[in-house]
């Protein structure tokens, strides 16, 4: 008699969890309450029936019943609060499988087990987990996320971050694992104080939000003074439904102390967002161009490099080395010191070359784009960054595509990591060189990457991976206006991609 209502409650709970992932407004809170109530109802019912069965002596029936009713509901909670902190990789994997958070539960099991790996002390679980990941073909978002968490367990947060950000290119979409990727990224951004990154991810809804992610997004919006930032009561509500409340209390209080803006604020640029919060330029007080350039350069070299400070430093040097007062001072001192003929020009050239070399080195290591400033430093820097990066880029893409002919077969995840590294290098190079360099670099990149995409689709059956490459190539072709590449890209992206997360997907580049 109770079976039908309970099935309805189960369905309602699943629907609430799915619906919650699609929202970031008050509906998120409403669906959270619905899922909480239904969970409580199922647990109460499960415990009651289990106790009744145990009372009449049917122990084994009670255990089976508890396993069927309670484990799927309590599984994710147990994984987060008990198994992951214990580093129980294998148990997490199997509990993830039976908790069935949606289609393709293995995806969740894999990611949850990789999450637990960070606390595993045995050292044997990684090989076990990697084998489980490698047998799953083709490569999808869950395998990439699991790899990112494995990499993170070694302490390599930069690579983990890059891999987790790359899943937005993947057509296969498991919301219940993407929300874990989003939570890792939000916690990582919060630790680095990169509140703009969190706000940008929320604005673009790149990842479904867990309650913790939703709280951090609210805190980020309040700290940045966004006009649509949650009110105090909304922020308290987000805090109440999020886990680890004791740890987030201080963050909540500091966000509550921030005021909400009534006027819309200027959105941060992608460049600013991608380099975290350290976009403050240490601007020296108003002074002559040369002292200003030295002070700005010193501040830029001493702090974490970011695009804004880089641009300010280059502009300051261009202004200083083109300044008439600097030239006049040098000429006068050269005369007083009895310096050789041409000393002024030589000094200016030498300083310009030294500064360019120094800034290019820092820009290369921090993957910064050449700023648009024109002058003795800005022009040289742009040229240097363009040429160096273009050569490296072409060599990288050529090496990658040679695998088709050499018969060198790498695991799909390694192919994905190489593609992401090359794509990142390409983006950095074309950002530095502008549209001119983008048009110059694209034909070679297109021909090599398109061949790889076709090979991965036809010979390796790596459909989501191949589709991601085609999708990216199409977006680039549209940016540079390459008609032939656009046509081919549209054809490739229109192919049906079989995925494990749902019905076969027909997609196109946006």
């Amino acid at each position: 008699m109770l079976a039908y209502p309970m099935i309805l409650v189960f369905v309602l709970r699943r629907y609430a969890l799915d619906a919650r992932r699609k929202h970031r407004t008050g509906a998120y809170l409403a669906w959270s309450i619905v899922s909480g109530l239904t969970t409580a109802l199922i647990v109460a019912f499960g415990l009651l029936v289990t106790a009744a069965l145990a009372y009449v002596g049917a122990w084994w029936v009670a255990l089976i019943f508890a396993g069927i009713i309670l484990v799927p509901v309590l599984g994710p909670w147990l994984i987060r609060h008990a198994l992951v902190p214990l580093g129980a990789v294998r148990t997490t994997y199997f509990l993830g499988l039976v908790s069935r958070p949606g289609k393709d539960p293995t995806a969740y099991a894999l990611v949850a087990a990789a999450w637990a790996l960070a606390n595993d002390g045995s050292g044997t679980a990684e090989a076990w987990l990697s084998r489980r990941r490698d047998v799953r073909r083709p490569l999808g978002d869950a395998e990439v996320i699991a790899t990112a968490l494995i990499v993170a367990s070694h302490g390599d947060a930069d690579t983990a971050r890059q891999l987790l950000r790359s899943i937005t290119l993947m057509v296969e979409d498991h919301p219940f694992v993407r929300e874990l990727a989003g939570e890792w990224l939000a916690c990582d951004s919060a630790e680095r104080g990169a509140w703009r990154e969190i706000a940008a991810d929320a604005a673009e809804t790149r990842y479904p939000a867990t309650p913790l992610t939703w709280l951090l997004e609210g805190i980020a919006a309040r700290r940045l003074g966004h006009v649509n930032a949650p009110s105090n009561s909304e922020l308290w509500a987000r805090w109440i439904i999020a886990p680890r409340r004791m740890k987030t209390k201080a963050l909540l209080q500091s966000a509550l102390a921030s005021t909400r803006n009534e006027e819309p604020t200027e959105p941060a640029s992608d460049a600013d967002a991608s380099h975290g919060e350290s976009t403050d330029v240490v601007t020296p007080p108003e002074r002559a161009p040369l002292p200003r350039a030295i002070a700005t350069h010193l501040a830029f070299s001493s702090n974490t490099p970011n695009a804004t400070a880089f641009g300010a430093t280059v502009s300051a040097w261009d202004a200083a080395l083109s300044d008439g007062a600097t030239h006049a001072w040098l000429a006068r001192r050269a005369l007083e010191l009895d310096a050789p003929l041409g000393a002024v020009d030589r000094a200016l050239r030498e300083i310009s070359a030294t500064v360019t070399e120094d800034l290019a080195r820092i820009a290369d290591s921090a993957q910064l784009a050449a700023p648009p400033s024109h002058g003795p430093v800005g022009d040289n820097l742009g040229r240097r960054l363009r040429h160096g990066r273009l050569d490296t880029l072409e060599a990288g893409f050529t090496r990658w595509s040679e695998r088709r002919t050499t018969g060198e077969v790498h695991p799909a995840i390694d192919e994905w990591r190489e593609f992401i590294a090359l794509k990142t290098a390409y983006t950095a190079a074309v950002t530095a060189g502008g549209l001119e360099l983008r048009r110059l670099a694209f034909p070679h990149v297109f021909s090599t990457a398109n061949n790889m995409s076709a090979w991965l689709w036809n010979a390796r059956n790596e459909y989501p991976l191949s589709h991601a490459i085609s999708k990216w190539l199409l977006s680039e072709a549209l940016a540079v206006g390459d008609t032939e590449a656009i046509e081919l890209g549209h054809r490739n992206c229109a192919l049906f991609v079989p995925t494990r997360s749902g019905v076969p997907t027909k997609t196109n580049a946006s």
Binding site: R80, V84, P85, W115, A118, N119, A152, S153, G155, E183, W184, C187, D188, A190, E191, R192, G193, L212, P243, R244, K247, T248, A250, L251, P284, A288, L290, P291, I294, A295, H297, L298, S301, S302, L330, R333, A334, L337, D338, A339, P340, A343, R346, A347, E350, I351, T354, V355, E357, D358, R361, I362
Partner: protein, 117 residues
């Protein structure tokens, strides 16, 4: 790798000798001899010199290299350009060295929120 701008200020001959950029050639030579003597005798006050990036250790080699650089008019011109337009000297306990208090509070937050390491 140290930034060139930092190196230009750290090893600037005028800072190594502790003199102003408009000091005459004779004064430079005299100060270099005095410093070399003090370093040889182990005078504590000669062991460090101030720069805009904080105090640095002074060695006899640095003093000799500084005075040699300032004897060359062209090298002196370049050294003067950096020294004359450099930011103010920085003490060892300058508060700018301290990490931002809020950033320090956020260290380890990812781990505390359940995502190790």
């Amino acid at each position: 790798m140290t930034s060139v701008a930092i190196a230009m200020l750290e090893e600037n001959p005028f800072f190594v000798l502790g003199l102003k950029p408009d000091t005459s050639r004779i004064e430079l030579e005299r100060e270099a001899q005095k410093l070399l003597g003090m370093l040889e005798l182990g005078f504590a006050e000669a062991r460090l010199y101030s720069t805009p990036v904080g105090p640095r250790e002074r060695t006899p080699e640095l003093v000799r290299a500084a005075v040699a650089a300032l004897r060359d008019p062209y090298r002196r011109l370049v050294a003067e350009l950096w020294a004359r337009h450099a930011p103010p000297m920085r003490a060892a306990d300058d508060p700018r060295d301290d990490p931002d208090e809020e950033a320090a509070q956020l260290i380890g937050l990812r781990r505390e929120l359940g995502w190790r390491p």
